[in-house]
């Protein structure tokens, strides 16, 4: 049978003209409006390219000795060399690569695990929530760096030591994400669209993956981004005290640590890795700020 319905009221100009297309395009526009974030994104992208691609193109490798010992920065060695003849530029590139890998691993694993943990706790509520959040509290009260040092010191040897360092850090940071996501879910699950989905008979995984997480994504991404910066610093600290990445592999933290004694005599050995740490941490933080503005859904949803 045919059904009758009123003529479309959707004449051109009827649908709000502002922000055409998906909400994502609006987000990109908002992000680009944030100057520092845009610049930071460019800087960070360059750093990543330099570290991951540049390292293999550079004519020295981080683990081969060069004939030059302790030369200051020059065209041949842009960041100089250390006492044993390693080319610092190659080492910094390698260190940056490791540090970023670790940070992404930490942010990814803790973000994913923490989000699901928090979402499940918030959505089921009741006893499940109580038990899950007590576990979170338990992990949170561990003195993170000390535990990380002990754990990483015992397990992190050999080729894959960087990955183990990352996993240990992730195991200590996911509770922050879980807590945040749980709070978010508690408010999101009261939304009418969740009630609507329940009324169709939607399952809890469906609600989590179709409704809760997409809407929590903005906040999660911002948190995870900031976690990248935190993880870089944590890895640095861990390597600095000797429990992180083990030589012959290297990381920015390890470089700073190894070269701290040279600060007066060959300052470049200390300052270049330091500069990279600062650059990464700052740019990631600004990107986080920009994302926060861009993903703020309170601005994109306007009432009629």
């Amino acid at each position: 049978m045919d059904i009758l319905a009123p003529v479309p009221t959707g004449a051109p100009g009827e649908v709000k003209q502002e922000a055409p297309g998906a909400p994502y395009r609006l987000m990109v526009r908002r992000f680009l409006r944030h100057r520092l974030a845009t610049v930071s994104l460019v800087v960070f992208t360059c750093l990543v390219l330099l570290a991951f691609v540049g390292g293999s193109l550079w004519h020295y490798s981080y683990d081969v000795f060069t004939p030059d010992n302790s030369v200051p920065p020059s065209l041949e060695h842009p960041f100089g060399t250390d006492a044993t003849g390693y080319d610092l530029f190659a080492q910094v590139l390698r260190g940056t690569q490791r540090s970023i890998e670790i940070a992404l691993l930490v942010a990814g694993v803790s973000g994913a695990f923490g989000s699901v943990w928090g979402a499940v706790a918030g959505l089921y509520g009741g006893r499940i929530d109580t038990v899950m959040m007590r576990i979170v509290d338990l992990v949170l009260i561990f003195p993170a760096i000390a535990v990380a040092a002990v754990l990483a010191g015992n397990v992190a040897h050999g080729e894959q030591s960087w990955a183990l360092v990352g996993l240990v850090l992730a195991a200590l940071t996911w509770p922050y994400v879980a807590r945040l996501v749980r709070g978010l879910v508690l408010s999101l699950r009261e939304r009418e669209y969740v009630a609507a989905a329940r009324s169709f008979g939607a399952s809890i995984p469906h609600i989590i993956f179709r409704h809760i997480l997409p809407n929590a994504m903005g906040t999660i991404i911002v948190t995870v981004t900031v976690n990248v910066a935190v993880a870089i610093l944590a890895e640095t600290a861990l390597s600095f005290i000797g429990f992180g990445v083990q030589p012959p592999d290297t990381s920015l933290g390890l470089l700073v640590s190894q070269n701290q004694t040279a600060i007066t005599t060959r300052p470049w050995l200390f300052y270049f890795p330091g500069l990279f740490i600062v650059l990464i941490a700052l740019s990631v933080n600004f990107i986080g700020d920009g994302l926060r503005d861009a993903l703020d859904t309170t601005q994109s949803g306007r009432r009629a």
Partner: protein, 683 residues
């Protein structure tokens, strides 16, 4: 005439900075407020009605640019420094906002705050006298037991009571002008009636002129002397209420009046919605701002902006090139009922109209009330729903009305299995529905669907229209191809054919609700629960959604449970009506029986409190203003729960009859033709 005017506004414009350049919220409006009169300003959201009025006294958010002239008793106010301006405001203007909390200080008792206002106005008066006067004023605005409650703090009062406290402060200020900005918008009708009565008292006692800003044409019809209609930042019509209501001369006014469902009118008449939405005010159109939605628009309308011009009666002005033509036509003649599109793919019910589809028997829902103590154990139960039985029949609409706290929305959730009933059963097509959890909801989803109140809130902002409508299908395992086809069909059937890829924020409120309705039809349910489906929409859009619901019902033989607080809408759309108070149905029956011959004292009061948008009728009606408010969990638990407010119980009954009300819960009792009432002493 101008010397009688206390406030004169000339060519007032207000601009705000916006994302796409300046937003011209008010565009050159001129009006005057006469000594002692009430001027109603009406318009839909975004028409500039509040901004225009608040701008006259310099109350605007930072960033607003104001131009034009405002003279108060002959004195120019625009350009005055803020200090001067606030002195004028303090001495002569009082403002009642929609949210009374914004004007009350939470750390002082209400008595103190009213007394402060008294003292500010009369520095001679002693503190004790000022307080006594404050109590007097609180009593005047209808605060029960004013002397005892004067020591309470704002948070201890309900919204309606706070609004009355604000009005008491207004009176203490003895202003020349009262500006009331949507003073009753968030309130239930019986409370609205109390606040309007208090406002009237305040006006009569102080002799102030008033500007009443509201979207409710019924309130204007009853309260205002003159009315000004605003559209897209402009005044489009201005005149006495009778002129404007009985001889509207501008299509927008005609449309507004025609789109209102009426409590007092033949419910069969079709509403005349105004298609489209107002223009964006960061790009106001060159000609008539209404041209895009106006059925009478011609080329001249799009080129030249119509000026306000006298249209007949002295003082009645309208801005339309064809106002003479408009005056000769009725709303249906201007907004010719919309033609229809046809769409295949839906099946009508296979059951004859009137067949019971969903039956609820003895539904009860109790919520534990937690104590404030350390352990926070449940200390009591709140009966949200008590022994409610109802039946939804094919092709029919049951209207469920009640004020906040009546439990009407809880019933919707119980039927949808979004909440578990404490007791009672739901039958689908005669068989008991599976209860409990997701299986129960799945079973129900194919029979029964829900449309939610807030179309923005009930649509996931991260999904586009197509995905939104496809979601129930996806959840219920319909394959991708079929899902897509069916969703596109549904989208077209609610008139949004070309917009599958758009996201909720790109639609207007009415369009979003259309998406919500399309989604609710995806599983081809037999019955829909409509929980306040139009209450968040502007009237013209509301009419559009109501018409759509009617068309769908006619075409598909759907059964509706229409839950609403707005009696006019319920009367318009329902076949049967059930009135709820504190969790119980107190009266139910055929629509006209209930509305024309209400028997329960609460129903009578409720109906009398609804303002009708017809000045003469509204003024001639008898209004029962109920005392008190809907009690929360603290209300009486035995006997009739309405007795604290029941005018029959309080004023007319003898002691023996009262004892019955106090001791026995009145059961819904049939008294004649299908119109049971739960009252021991029905009229």
């Amino acid at each position: 005439m101008s010397e009688e005017e206390i406030l004169r506004v000339e060519d007032l414009s207000v601009r705000f900075p916006g994302e796409n350049g300046p937003v011209q919220a008010v565009r050159g409006v001129s009006w005057g407020l006469r000594e002692g009169e009430v001027l109603g300003i009406v318009g839909e959201s975004g028409s500039g009605k509040s901004t225009g009025a608040l701008a006259t006294i310099g109350l605007l958010p930072p960033g607003a640019e104001v131009s034009g002239s405002v003279r108060f008793r002959g004195r120019e106010l625009t350009g005055l420094p803020e200090r001067e301006l606030s002195r004028v405001r303090g001495a002569s203007v009082a403002i009642v906002f929609q949210d009374p909390l914004s004007s009350l200080n939470p750390v002082y008792s209400v008595g103190y705050q009213v007394a402060e206002a008294v003292r500010a106005h009369d520095p001679e008066i002693s503190k004790a006298d000022a307080f006594a006067r404050a109590v007097e004023l609180l009593d005047l605005v209808g605060i029960p037991d004013a002397a005892a409650r004067a020591g309470d703090y704002p948070h201890e009062f309900s919204g309606g009571m706070r609004q009355r406290v604000v009005i008491a402060i207004t009176m203490a200020n003895n202003p020349d002008v009262i500006i009331a900005d949507e003073p009753t918008t968030a309130l239930d009708v019986t409370i609205q009636a109390q606040v309007l009565a208090a406002l009237r008292t305040a006006r009569e006692k102080t002799g102030a002129a008033a500007v009443l800003i509201t979207h409710d044409l019924g309130v204007v019809a009853g309260q205002a002397d003159r009315v000004m209609v605003m559209y897209a930042g402009k005044v489009v019509e201005l005149g006495t209420v009778e002129d404007v209501f009985y001889r509207p001369s501008m299509p927008y006014t005609v449309g507004l009046l025609g789109s209102l469902p009426r409590l007092d009118a033949d419910a069969g008449a079709r509403l005349t919605p105004i298609a489209g939405t107002p223009p964006a005010l960061d790009r106001p159109p060159a000609g008539c701002a209404f041209a895009a939605r106006c059925p009478l628009a011609r080329d001249v309308c799009r080129e030249r902006e119509p000026e306000l011009a006298q249209v007949g009666e002295e003082g009645h002005v309208a801005a339309c090139h064809f106002s003479a033509e408009v005056r000769e036509r009725s709303a249906e003649e201007v907004f010719v009922p919309v033609s229809s599109v046809r769409l295949a793919g839906h099946e009508a019910q296979d059951v004859p109209p009137g067949t019971p589809l969903v039956t609820a028997e003895g539904l009860v829902k109790d919520y534990p009330v937690r104590g404030g103590g350390l352990l926070r154990g449940p200390v009591a139960v709140r009966h949200a729903v008590a022994e409610v039985s109802l039946e939804l029949a094919a092709g029919r609409t049951l209207g469920l009305v009640g004020e906040s706290g009546s439990g009407k929305s809880t019933i919707g959730k119980l039927l949808m299995a979004l909440e578990e009933p404490t007791a009672g059963t739901v039958l689908l097509g005669g068989a008991p529905a599976v209860t409990g959890g997701r299986r129960g909801r799945r079973g129900r989803a194919r029979e029964l669907q829900m449309v939610f109140q807030d179309p923005m809130g009930s649509l996931n902002p991260r999904m586009n229209a197509l995905d939104l409508i496809a979601e129930p299908l996806r959840v219920n395992g319909v394959g991708r191809r079929e899902r897509r086809e069916r969703s596109l069909e549904l989208l077209a059937s609610v008139g949004l054919g070309g917009y599958a890829g758009r996201y909720p924020h790109e639609f207007s409120g009415g369009q979003r609700q259309r998406i919500g309705i399309a989604r609710s039809l995806a599983l081809r349910p037999r019955a829909l629960i409509l929980d306040e489906p139009v209450s968040s929409l502007d009237v013209s859009v509301q009419a559009d959604v109501i018409n759509l619901l009617r068309d769908l019902q006619d075409a598909l033989g759907l059964s509706y449970l229409f839950i609403a607080h707005d009696l006019s809408v319920v009367r318009h759309i329902s076949d049967r009506v059930a009135v709820m108070y504190l969790g119980r149905i107190v009266e139910t029956g055929e629509r006209d029986d209930v509305f024309d011959r209400p028997a329960h004292p609460y129903t009578r009061a409720l109906i009398s409190a609804v303002p009708v948008p017809d000045p003469r009728a509204e003024r001639a009606r008898e209004h029962t203003v109920l005392r008190g408010e809907i009690p929360g969990a603290s209300g009486p638990t035995t006997g009739c729960r309405f007795r604290g407010r029941c005018p029959v119980f309080l004023d007319r009954l003898g002691e023996a009859e009262r004892a019955v009300c106090r001791e026995r819960v009145p059961a819904l009792t049939e008294r004649g033709q299908g119109h049971p009432v739960a009252c021991h002493h029905p009229s």
